[in-house]
C-alpha cells in the first residue's frame, strides 16, 4: 500500500481514523506529562502505576459487572492513585528507597490484579472477555467515545499546565525555594502526580500495562536532548509522542500480525535513539565532533607555542627556520601548519618557516584569559 493510499484510507476508514487519532492524542498527553516525570526523576513511576491500575480494573468489573471502559478506567484511576501515594508513603515514612517502593507496588498490585482476573474468569456467570486487553493493550478496540475522552483529558491537561505553569516549573527545579515562597508544594505535587496517573490510565486500553511506561518516558527523553527550556521540551515531547502514535499505527496497520502497542513503543525508541545521536548540543555525534575539534585547536596552539619558543631566542622574529625541526614535535602536523598559514600566523617559503608579527603577538598572548578566542 502506498503512502498516499494509506493517507486516503486514514480519512475514509472509521476504524483506522479512530485509532490514528486516539494514539496521536494519547502520545501527545503522555509526552507532555512524561516530561515532568522524567525531570522529577520519577521515570519508573509510570511503570509502577500502570501495573498498579490492574486490580482497580478487575475490582471495578467485579463490583459493577460493567464492561464499559469508562467505569473500568475510574477503577484503574483509583487504584493507580492509591499506588502512587503509597509509593510516596513508603519513601517518606520508612528508610526503603524509591526503587524498592516502586518495585513493591508494581509487583504486588499486579499480582493482586492477576489474582482477581483469574478469579473473575473462573466465575460461571462472568462475561469477562475483554479484560485481558488491558494487559497488552488493543488499539483496535478504540471507539470514537474513547478518543473524545482522551481529547477531553488532553485539553484539561493543557489548561492545567498553562494555569499552574509557574508553580510546576518552580517545584520541578527548586522545591525548597517554592516552599519558602509560600506555594503549597504538597498540593502541586499531588496535582501533577494525579495527572500523570490519569494519563497512564488513559493509555492502558491502547498500549497496555507493560508498555505504558515507555509511552511516558520515550517522547520526553527524546525531547530533553533538543532543548534546555521546559516549555519547548513539553511541546516537543507532545509532538514526538503524537508522531510515534501516528507512525506506529500506520506501520502496524499495513503489516500483518503486528500489534499496535509494541510498534508505537519501538517508533518512540527510534526517536530517542535519533535524538541521542544527532541532537546538536547534547548528542553523541556532535559531542564527538566537538571533542575532535577542540583537540585539533589544542594541537595548533601547542605548535604555535613551540614555534614561539624557538623564535624568542632570535632578535628578528621573521628569521626563517627549517620545517624539519618541527617534525620532532608531537603536536605538529602538515594540516596544522597549513591552518596556521591560513590564519596568517606563519609564513612558509620553501622548506623554511617564520612567524609573522601577528602570530608572534597571538602566541605571546595565548594564555591570556582576557584575549578572545578566535
Amino acid at each position: 500500500m502506498g503512502i498516499i493510499e494509506y493517507i486516503e484510507l486514514v480519512f475514509s476508514d472509521y476504524t483506522l481514523r479512530t485509532i490514528t487519532l486516539g494514539t496521536a492524542v494519547l502520545g501527545a498527553v503522555t509526552g507532555m506529562l512524561g516530561s515532568f516525570a522524567v525531570l522529577r526523576k520519577q521515570s519508573l513511576l509510570g511503570d509502577a502505576i500502570s501495573h498498579a491500575a490492574l486490580p482497580g480494573i478487575a475490582l471495578a468489573f467485579l463490583f459493577t459487572g460493567a464492561k464499559d471502559s469508562n467505569v473500568l478506567l475510574i477503577g484503574a484511576l483509583i487504584s493507580g492513585l492509591i499506588g502512587a501515594f503509597w509509593i510516596r508513603g513508603i519513601t517518606t515514612k520508612t528508610h526503603l528507597k524509591a526503587d524498592t517502593a516502586l518495585g513493591l507496588i508494581l509487583s504486588l498490585f499486579f499480582g493482586f490484579g492477576i489474582l482477581l482476573l483469574t478469579f473473575i474468569q473462573k466465575r460461571p456467570d462472568a462475561n469477562q472477555a475483554g479484560l485481558d486487553k488491558y494487559l497488552f493493550g488493543q488499539a483496535a478496540t478504540l471507539v470514537e467515545s474513547d478518543v473524545w475522552l482522551m481529547a477531553f483529558v488532553a485539553g484539561l491537561c493543557v489548561l492545567v499546565l498553562l494555569f499552574f505553569w509557574k508553580e510546576f516549573k518552580i517545584l520541578l527545579f527548586d522545591k525548597d525555594y517554592a516552599q519558602t515562597l509560600g506555594f503549597n508544594t504538597k498540593f502541586i505535587d499531588a496535582l501533577i502526580t494525579s495527572f500523570i496517573v490519569l494519563a497512564i490510565v488513559l493509555g492502558l486500553q491502547t498500549v497496555g500495562v507493560i508498555l505504558m511506561s515507555a509511552m511516558l518516558l520515550a517522547p520526553a527523553a527524546a525531547a530533553r536532548q533538543w532543548t534546555n527550556s521546559l516549555g519547548v521540551m513539553v511541546f516537543l515531547a507532545a509532538v514526538f509522542g503524537a508522531s510515534a502514535g501516528v507512525f506506529g499505527t500506520a506501520i502496524s496497520a499495513t503489516q500483518n500480525n503486528l500489534s499496535t502497542g509494541p510498534v508505537i513503543v519501538l517508533v518512540a525508541s527510534v526517536f530517542v535513539l535519533f535524538s541521542f545521536v544527532f541532537s546538536p548540543s547534547r548528542g553523541l555525534l556532535f559531542k564527538r565532533i566537538r571533542l575532535i575539534r577542540n583537540r585539533n585547536d589544542l594541537e595548533l596552539q601547542k605548535t604555535l607555542t613551540f614555534m614561539y619558543h624557538i623564535v624568542q631566542d632570535h632578535e628578528d622574529i621573521s628569521h626563517p627556520h627549517a620545517i624539519k625541526i618541527l617534525n620532532n614535535f608531537r603536536g605538529y602536523s602538515r594540516k596544522g601548519l597549513k591552518k596556521l598559514i591560513d590564519k596568517n600566523y606563519v609564513k612558509v617559503e620553501g622548506e623554511m618557516w617564520s612567524l609573522t608579527e601577528e602570530g608572534f603577538l597571538r602566541a605571546s598572548n595565548l594564555y591570556n584569559q582576557n584575549e578572545k578566542d578566535d
Binding site: F110, L116, L117, I210
Partner: protein
Amino acid sequence: MTSAQFEIQMIACLVAVACAIPGTFLVLRKMAMISDAISHSILPGLVVGFFITQDLNSPLLILFAALTGVLTVVLVEKIQQTKLVKEDTAIGLVFPVLFSIGVIMIAKYANDVHLDVDAVLLGELAFAPFDRIYYGTVDLGPKSLWVIGTILLVTLILLFAFFKELKMSTFDAGLATSLGFSPVIIHYGLMSVASITTVGAFDAVGAILVVAMMIAPAASAYLLTTNLKKMIGLACFFGVFSAISGYWLASSLDASIAGSIATMLGLVFLTIYLFAPDKGFIAVIYREKQQRREVMLITFLLHLKNHNEIEERHVNHLNEHINWQKVRSKTILNLALKNNMVRISDDVVTLTDKGDEFTSKAIDYILTNEHGLIEDMKKDFFLFRG
C-alpha cells in the same frame, strides 16, 4: 494433600528462597527496579533461543534468556554513561524496547508455536507438576523442581563463598575496592545470578511474580532488622510463608497461584509496613509526634528561663505568647509538671531546680551546635516522654 499439591508448594518455596537471596542484595544496593527490567527483557532472549534450538525444553533457552538479562543491565549502564538521561530513565527506556521486540518476534515468526506472552508474564504453577523428568522409566519429579533446585544450590554456594565480598561491596564499595575486591565482578556476578533466577523461575511462577518474590520479602525484612544475615533469613522466611499460604489461598479461590502468592506477599509487607517496631508507619508517626511535643517542651522551658517577670510566666499568658492552641499548651504543661520540671503557684509557672538544670544544659548544647546530645540528655531527665 496429593503429591501434585506437595510438589507445587515445594517448587514455590524453592523459588521463594532462590529469589529472596539475590533480592536482598538488590534492595540494599538500590537496584530493585533492575529485576523488573530483567524479568521483561528476557522475552526476546527466549524467542531467539527458541529459533536457534527449535526446542522449548532446551537448557540453551535458559542461557539465552539469562544473557539478555545481563545485556539489559549492560545497556542500561551504557546509556547512563552517556549522561544524556538518568539511570531510572535508562531502565525505563531499555526494557519496554526489548519486550516490544520480543512480542513482535513472537507475533511475526512464532505464532504457531506454544510460546505465549501471557505464559511468560504470568506463569502457571498449577501445570508445573505435569512436566516431569524421566531417567529411563524412573520418575525423577517435575522439571521445574530440578531447574529451580539447581539454581538455588548454585546461589547458596555462591552466597557462602562470597558472603564477605558481597557484604563489603554492598555497604562500602570504596573500601571493597581498596581491599582488592573488584566491585565490577561482584556487580555482574549478582546480576547474572538475578537473571538466571528470573529465567529459571518464570516458567513456574511468571515474570512479574519473580519481581514480587525478589523485592517484597527483602523489603519487609529490611523494615525489621539491619543485620544482613538476619535480613536474608527473614526474607527467606517471608517468601516461604507467602508461597505456602498463597498456594492455599489460590486453591480456595480457584485463582492464579502466582497472583495469590503476590497478594500474600503484599499482605505481609503491608502488615510489617504498618506495625514494624521502630521503622513501621505507625511507629514513625508516633515518634514524630513525640519529638514534636518534646521540642515544644524545650521551647516552653526555655521561655520560662528567659523571663523572670511574673506576667510572662502567668498560665493565661502562655497560651497567647507561645501561640499554641489551648489543648496543646495544656498537654505540654502537664508533661512538664509530670517530669517535675515546673511548679505552679498562684497560676504562675516557675522552673524547679531540676527544670533549671535541664534547661541550662539544653541551652548549652544548642549554643555549641550539638543538638544531637539533647536526645541523650532527655533519657537522664525525663520520666515520661511526649
